[in-house]
Amino acid sequence: MTTPHKKRRAAFLLGNEAVVEGALAAGCTFYAGYPITPSTEIMESMARRLPRMPEGVFLQMEDEIASMGAVIGASLAGRKAMTATSGPGFSLLQEQIGYAAMTETPLVVVTVMRGGASTGLPTNPGQGDVQQARWGAHGDHPILVLSACDVPECLEMTVVAFNFAEKYRSPVILLLDEVTAHTREKIELPEPGDFEIFSRMTPAMPPEWYKPYEESLRGVPPMPPLGAGYRFHVTGLTHDPCGFPTSKPEEVRAMVERQFRKIDRFFHDIQLVTLVEADDADVLVIAYGCVARSARLAVQQAREAGVHAGLLILKTLFPFPRMHVEKRLRACRLVVVPELNMGQISREVKRVNEGLTTVRTINRIDGQMITPSQILKEIT
């Protein structure tokens, strides 16, 4: 991806700082947040960077609920907007993540997972918010959940998160963990043109023809910014194609089905994984976040010991990359799912597995990393 003649800028960044680089590369001009460990560096970095941009806005709000409201408002007004938080703050976002899903408002939420429920282990890693990311907001709604396992990937996946949000008019959650967010690594800073950047489709028709939630082949309606002449109604109530509240069963069904379909039709685009030595593997580790790094070493050591081990790193957590996982479940005699929770992604793997192969889990909830040797023991 580099041109040989041009010297690229490198930097030694935290995962959290790489998120900011990714967001700015993706066109983010609005951040609203509330301080919380271990995500605060994202907020502090945004506070320095955004006011230096012509239209950049950074807001420290009174709580996470308000942060999410401001992000939704900014997105409705046409901005690419995000917030970042961690465990307890993530719970406070859920009400309005549901509103964003219902109103199909593009935005990005980064949540850096720490250990434990409640205040838990604020400075230790955990992966306990995986199912909350999928099902935290009430009611049936589609949502996209992504993950990253190292600093360059924090940058890349933040760009992907914004692209998905804009393409599919959906809230997108990027789930990091404390270790990934606080690891400092050398990365190449992006130059304009490195990434393909998507922006939401705006209506091409005149305002009087525009229906904000009209059915279409793609299922993603175009979205004008507030104030551009398309005066429409945005509501968290179930609504008809014109955006007005409805409780007619046929209109409600059509709305919900379209919201799911706009995601379901594009699984091939959305479901991202990284495969390491997986082609001839008969033992496979499925991991994400910081655990994937331990798994990478474990698989390498297992290979050295003569085991046909492989690794599947989940970059998309939801919609769960079934097509990638199922193929490997068919080919392997053993699948091991290590994670820093009591079994939140292994639940998805087992759901897909349906008896195809043996699925074992490694669960650690004491605020410490899963070590390569812990994984190695299970796969050799």
Partner: protein, 278 residues
């Protein structure tokens, strides 16, 4: 009448299913009228007005007016409005909230919007009760008043919206009633034209959920009560016994620049420091 009809055609959504959801005798329609007349008086274009409403009876106002309308989550209208105004300061952003919406679930957002002095006009429809959920007490239900959740009379004291938002730093704060319609129009028109965070409290009767349970025989009695109880601010200050009376008018008007203006100035300053917009 022809003028009213013209305003209706110009500002209400003809493709929205009428009649309004409000009960007979509800004052919300009068506030809706005041809102439309104020926007018209200021000659704002419908495209530049964003109306953000919360949840409750007042929240339903948003669907009927032909502006950019956002029917937000309960209590959060001001948070969305803050994002919208900061993202596009050229827009005229108005929030419509009820008393439960603005002061109970949204109380934190209200005081912080006032402290921040964000360029938004907050229209608060105070009917002393949770109407849409069927008549529960709100933070403005007067002590001793009855509701389904205080059947023995309200034991807690009530928030004074004017004093609260004034203390929190709102740029301008005023109170009117739906009986004093001309005054309400004037208060709202003035607030919309001012910079920063402006609060307009509109007292509006809810006979269905509040009046019936609190000794009012009909809606007309409630309007009589508003007529009698409301006293202009200065006359109120001169009253020997102000009990049972409610001051109306404008209580503070600081005219300070809104957050979006101060933010833009900071950005400009940064640009100049860095030498001409690099």
């Amino acid at each position: 009448m022809a003028e009213v009809t013209q305003l209706i055609h110009q500002y209400l959504r003809h493709n929205k299913k009428f009649p309004l959801v409000f009960c007979p005798g509800c004052g919300h329609g009068i506030v809706l009228g005041a809102l439309v007349r104020s926007v018209h008086a200021l000659m704002l274009s419908k495209d530049e007005v964003v109306l953000v409403a919360g949840i409750g009876c007042s929240g339903r106002i948003a669907a009927y007016v032909d502006f950019n309308t956002v029917h937000a989550t309960h209590g959060r209208a001001l948070t969305l409005a803050t994002g919208i105004k900061m993202a596009n300061p050229a827009l005229t952003v108005i929030t419509v909230m009820g008393d439960g919406d603005a002061l109970s679930i949204g109380g934190n957002h209200l005081i912080h919007a006032a402290r921040r002095n964000i360029g938004v006009t907050a229209l608060i429809l105070n009917n002393f009760i949770y109407g849409m959920t069927g008549g529960q007490c709100s933070p403005t239900t007067p002590p001793g008043a009855y509701s389904h959740t205080c059947p023995r009379g309200q034991l807690e004291s009530a928030f004074d919206i004017v004093e609260l938002t004034k203390a929190a730093g709102a740029n301008s704060v005023s109170r009117g009633t739906v009986f004093h319609v001309k005054a309400l129009d004037r208060l709202l028109t003035t607030a919309l034209a001012r910079p920063g965070f402006n609060v307009v409290e509109a007292l509006t009767p809810c006979f269905t959920q509040y009046g019936r349970g609190n000794g009012f025989k009909n809606v007309v009695e409630m309007f009589h009560w508003l007529k009698e109880a409301a006293v202009p601010r200065d006359a109120y200050a001169a009253l020997e016994d102000p009990s049972g009376r409610i001051p109306i008018g404008t209580f503070v008007d600081r005219g300070l620049p809104g957050l979006e203006t101060r933010y833009a100035a900071m950005r400009q300053e940064l640009r100049e420091q860095r030498g001409g917009g690099a």
